[in-house]
């Protein structure tokens, strides 16, 4: 794992000291809220509905046990005993007091963590595949690339005041688990078809929110050594030409859309040709130094298939179900990546208690080479577990209330904080997720339905990624009550697609029934082995719309018209 060097350490400490002084001046009254707000946002401090909120960066979602334990300490000492993992591999605390935040930042600095660039119009936390370094289908671990970008983009003076926030995601596998096409820049590690050299496919202009867009490929193959110069060229074009006149048109996706991907590419390539690449690109020695931090742990030589695992599975159906849903193939024989669901039926998606953080820390240390990950699905991952240990791990997870076997299923719902916490929300998200999970709680039924991703946002900002949910739910306000729009057919992977609306918005209490009817169409129409999203692609929206409209009464009205 990456370790801070002395420079990083000193910088983070200085930043904490600066923020402490700023908070002091704010509390003394020498800084107004207008003056203080940009300063607090630069340190991840938001004001929510009920309290301040602190967003902590977890670069590319990688954490160790010390960090998990420190988060538990913060949750207990300064918050209400829990935290919330977000859809961008961050963690948020919902109840910190402003006067305590400098102390919290100090505790974070003790474990090489901080809140820098988790807010504001800068390059945000770089996200990545949560199975990085573990996935069987991986070409290269994407984290050295993500770390290189983190170092380059941290406090980059030229990109500290962009037209709008900027999000970069990197994947190193063919199957995109990092939603790269929904990011301002998405990078996909790949091998050149002829030379087999490693490089990147570069996509720009993806993003969700008010105007959702899928990223466009601007470079099919970028040699690895040119990465930073090319990113710098993209950032320059955006920084100069991105729209600062209108906040809603300021993301790079709008620029790409307005001038067209071809013209955007032309300008980037022209800038790339003009700038002095050698002065921007990372020194190969530095690249090697960073890569060394991500060297695979010392895996044992094990048989590919664990007889112990097979025996436990045969004996224990609940464990077999857990393995079926929560365990992913690993690149090292005899190992597996385990997803720990934070979607217990009835829980708030992504919430984790301090006790669970400590339990996760212990298990990370004991079973996963002291490495854990946060996924953008708001789950926790233990990436490197021996198959022989899976049963013991499962038992220990069960004791901590962390053994819910629903990863990728209909109750593994992504939901933003919504109106239960967020000052920008137009409706609640969490109770909708809870109501759907309860409706579909039956494990046999979940298994029957299979892979199906529901994503819920509490406003058009789309933090819950509803546009790319197989089923997306957007909470709005209509005539003074919460109202929910349902979309269908979204996809966040390499086959990225935006969902389309099924019909008019519905009341919150009708949402579980609407999902029920959508699922019923799928179960009736699916072919052998066909997952939900593939069935939606084949069938089109028609039959689902018809079923949805039986709920909203639109059918009757259309028939009468």
């Amino acid at each position: 794992m990456y370790r801070y060097d002395e420079f990083d350490e000193r910088f983070v400490r200085e930043r904490v000291a600066q923020f402490r002084a700023q908070v002091t001046r704010r509390l003394e009254g020498s800084l107004t809220e207008d003056e203080f707000k940009p300063l607090r946002l630069k340190n991840g401090v938001y004001l929510q509905l009920h309290a301040y909120m602190l967003r902590i960066a977890i670069p590319y979602g990688t954490l160790n046990s010390r960090q998990l334990r420190q988060l538990a300490v913060i949750a207990d000492k300064y918050d209400r005993g829990y935290g919330h993992f977000t859809t961008r591999q961050n963690i948020q605390f919902n109840w910190p007091k402003l006067r305590d935040i400098p102390d919290i930042l100090e505790l974070l600095a003790d474990v090489e963590m901080h809140c820098i660039q988790t807010s504001g119009n800068c390059i945000r936390n770089v996200t990545s595949d949560h199975f990085a370094g573990a996935a069987a289908d991986e070409i290269e671990d994407p984290r050295p690339t993500a770390e290189l970008i983190r170092q380059w983009s941290s406090l980059h003076p030229e990109f500290d005041y962009l037209p709008r926030k900027f999000k970069i995601a990197v994947t190193g596998a063919d199957h995109d688990r990092a939603a790269t096409k929904a990011h301002d820049i998405g990078l996909r590690v790949q091998r050149h078809p002829d030379t087999h050299e490693i490089g990147y496919e570069v996509m720009v202009g993806g993003g969700l929110g008010r105007t959702p867009m899928i990223g466009k490929v601007v470079r099919e193959f970028l040699p690895k050594k040119d990465l930073l110069a090319y990113l710098e060229a993209i950032m320059r074009v955006y920084n100069l030409e991105g729209r600062r006149d209108n906040k809603y048109k300021a993301r790079v996706k709008i620029l790409v859309h307005e001038i067209g991907a071809e013209e955007f590419t032309r300008r980037v390539e022209a800038e790339f040709a003009r700038l002095d690449g050698a002065s921007v690109n990372a020194d190969p020695e530095e690249v090697a130094r960073i890569a060394a931090y991500f060297a695979p742990p010392a895996f044992q030589t094990l048989p590919a298939r664990s007889t112990k695992l097979e025996a436990y599975k045969a004996m224990n159906p609940a464990f077999a179900r857990f393995v079926e849903n929560n365990v992913t193939a690993h690149r090292a024989p005899g190992y597996a990546a385990v997803t720990v669901s934070l979607k217990e039926i009835g829980a708030a998606p992504g919430d984790i208690t301090s006790d669970q953080l400590r339990a996760a820390a212990d298990l990370t240390e004991r079973f996963s080479f002291d490495e854990a990950r946060i996924s953008h699905h708001q789950n926790l991952v233990l990436p490197h577990v021996r198959q022989d240990d899976l049963f013991a791990l499962w038992q220990a997870l069960g004791a901590a209330g962390l053994a819910t076997a629903n990863v990728g299923l209909i109750t593994d719902i992504i939901a933003c904080p919504g109106l239960d916490y967020c000052a920008l929300a137009t409706a609640r998200s969490i109770p909708i997720a809870q109501a759907i999970a309860k409706r579909f709680a039956d494990e046999k039924r979940q298994a029957l339905i299979g892979a199906l991703g529901i994503k819920i946002s509490g406003c058009i900002n789309a933090c819950g990624h509803h546009h790319v949910g197989h089923i997306g739910i957007l909470g709005l306000e209509k005539n003074g009550v919460e109202n929910y729009q349902i979309t269908l057919g979204g996809d966040a992977t390499e086959k990225a697609a935006l969902g389309e609306r099924l019909g008019p918005g519905i009341d919150g209490e009708d949402v579980p029934e609407a999902i029920e009817r959508i699922v019923a169409v799928y179960l009736a129409e699916r072919r052998e082995g066909e997952v939900f999203i593939d069935a939606v692609r084949r069938l089109g929206l028609g039959p689902f719309k018809a079923a949805f409209q039986t709920l909203t009464g639109q059918e009757a009205r259309h028939a009468a018209a």
């Binding site: 007091k97 929300a425 609640r428």
Partner: protein, 115 residues
């Protein structure tokens, strides 16, 4: 910039405390309370004017942030409930965590709008 229209009477003034971030309500004595039941309810334009000017003044002198008035309904117990669901949440707490926020602290509050 156009001045936003004031909501109809009766109304209360709420804000977030600068230090804690906690939601607070303006009282008759010109202080702040964390219990919505103790909020001053403006039933006439003069009191509403007073609350609005206090909103501006207390933000200026850094007591609170995000202070604004909201229209309420007054229950049989005399306690105000904001008419808009967003501010109802501010007077209660997260609906998925009845153990947290004002709903836990001041247990007499009316429950959340059910889903």
């Amino acid at each position: 910039m156009a001045v936003p229209k004031r909501p109809p009477l009766p109304l209360i003034l709420l804000a977030n405390d600068l230090l804690d971030g906690d939601v607070v309500f303006r009282t008759a004595s010109g202080g702040w309370t964390r219990d919505p039941a103790d909020a001053l309810i403006a039933r006439d334009e003069a009191t509403a004017d007073r609350l609005e000017s206090e909103a501006a003044a207390t933000m200026r002198n850094n007591e609170v942030v995000d202070a604004y008035v909201v229209d309420v309904s007054v229950g049989a117990d005399g306690a105000p409930t904001p008419n808009h669901f967003r501010e109802r949440f501010k007077t209660l707490g997260p609906s998925n965590r009845p153990d947290l926020g004002k709903q836990a602290e001041f247990a007499r509050r009316s429950p959340h709008v059910p889903l």
